[in-house]
Symmetry: D2
Subunit: 144 residues, 4 copies
């Protein structure tokens, strides 16, 4: 698989239930989308759900942040551009940019810092940070 | 523990994020509340999270339904009255009634049919239906 | 627009956050999907978000139910087949069937009963049931 | 009403549906809780849902961030300590600290930056930033 020089793009429609009484996106929706986009990006890099399970891998979050610029409303289509922004020894940062399809407006941009971990003794056992896989490292270099 | 002749009551406030652009409760919220109320009811009957885990028990859902009468809005407080309505050999029915605290109005009423199961070979292994515990059976009799 | 003889199909992936500690879909997710699928179906029939807003239309729910057969897990792709199953004077029923893409297995099937309403005096004012539009009526006939 | 020298405390139980397949809290849940806690804090300072609506007030978010330290699991009770941390001319910062009741462990801490706004011409019309109310200003001073 070639390094992901291009961001992974996940498309979402702002559904009725993603909105709040102000008629705009309920903000934790952005974090649900970031989390989903991160898993899709990992899958695109070779670490899909089945492999994560089989190899007892996990990617616990240690930090997340987001800047909110414009608020989409019910029915808007949003493209989430996600990429590996930085890789440390055992941690990595995913950057996410939310763009409204209709006019290309940037709605928000956020990032997540995660640790690459393995369950020491199978699912449910304590997690131990391990070296971030090379394919994420290459993706981060391609991004830089 | 005495049989639960009285319904278990869980209190919830309709939060900003529980509402939709119409300014009223987003309906899947009722199901989130039913699910939570069911777990709290089980805990009150002696089957809390720790015991369910330790004894490899699960309660998969096979049917759920709800009638919606009036819609609460942001800030309303809602009492969820839950009880064991019926018990079969391996399945049981929980009934939930949603009442607005301010005026006692019934907002909705629903029920869930679940199967009492054990993971045959530990967490994640196939589920097998087993006899519903006596304490649920007694609660259903007290309800009738 | 021709009557919708074929069900509207909405595709969803079971995301990490759609699952519960049992590793399977958290059941209120099905209702979130039914609600979204219903809105997409209405849009396909000519009543998209913008028109619903402009014409002060709403479609409050009075009943919902679902039978759950098999539980998808993280990463599974699900097709939601939705159609107008029945139309009364002011109410209509949407039927939803959830099918796992990988093996065509039916996961669940549910329905929603809704009332076709207009805000009498603009957004936020009381709702009044009005005649279900012909395009929904035709879609129901095509389904039967 | 006296300035809120003490943080507002909102209690939450980690419900089954708040968790992910790893059996721990699904992280966007923290943001749902922050949002709810912020509204409760505003209500405690005199700006409840009814007043916000009546005075056409809104508090759009411009930034949110959170550090995650320990992950609670199904059934854990969590106290969310929220306070007005800082007030600018038209914006304010709410700080939230998540503490597990059982052992007092700090689970996470986050903050939200919001703008105090009024709908210029009633609900749905454009928002305009206005001066943060004195009661929030006093609460921030009491916090410092």
């Amino acid at each position: 698989m070639p390094p992901a020089a291009e961001p992974y793009v996940l498309l979402r429609t702002v559904e009725w239930g993603d909105c709040d009484p102000a008629g705009i996106i309920y903000y934790p929706t952005y974090y649900r989308w970031m989390d989903a986009a991160g898993w899709h990006l990992l899958a695109a890099l070779g670490f899909d759900a089945a492999r994560m399970r089989a190899e007892h891998l996990s990617q616990p979050l240690v930090h997340a942040a987001c800047d909110f610029k414009r608020s989409p409303t019910f029915g808007d289509r949003v493209a989430i551009h996600s990429q590996v922004a930085r890789v440390g020894e055992k941690s990595f940062t995913l950057a996410h940019r939310f763009v409204r399809e209709a006019d290309g407006a940037e709605l928000a941009s956020g990032h997540e810092v995660r640790v690459w971990c393995r369950y020491e003794a199978g699912p449910g056992s304590p997690l131990r940070g391990i070296a971030v896989p090379d394919v994420l490292r290459a993706a981060a270099r391609a991004t830089a």
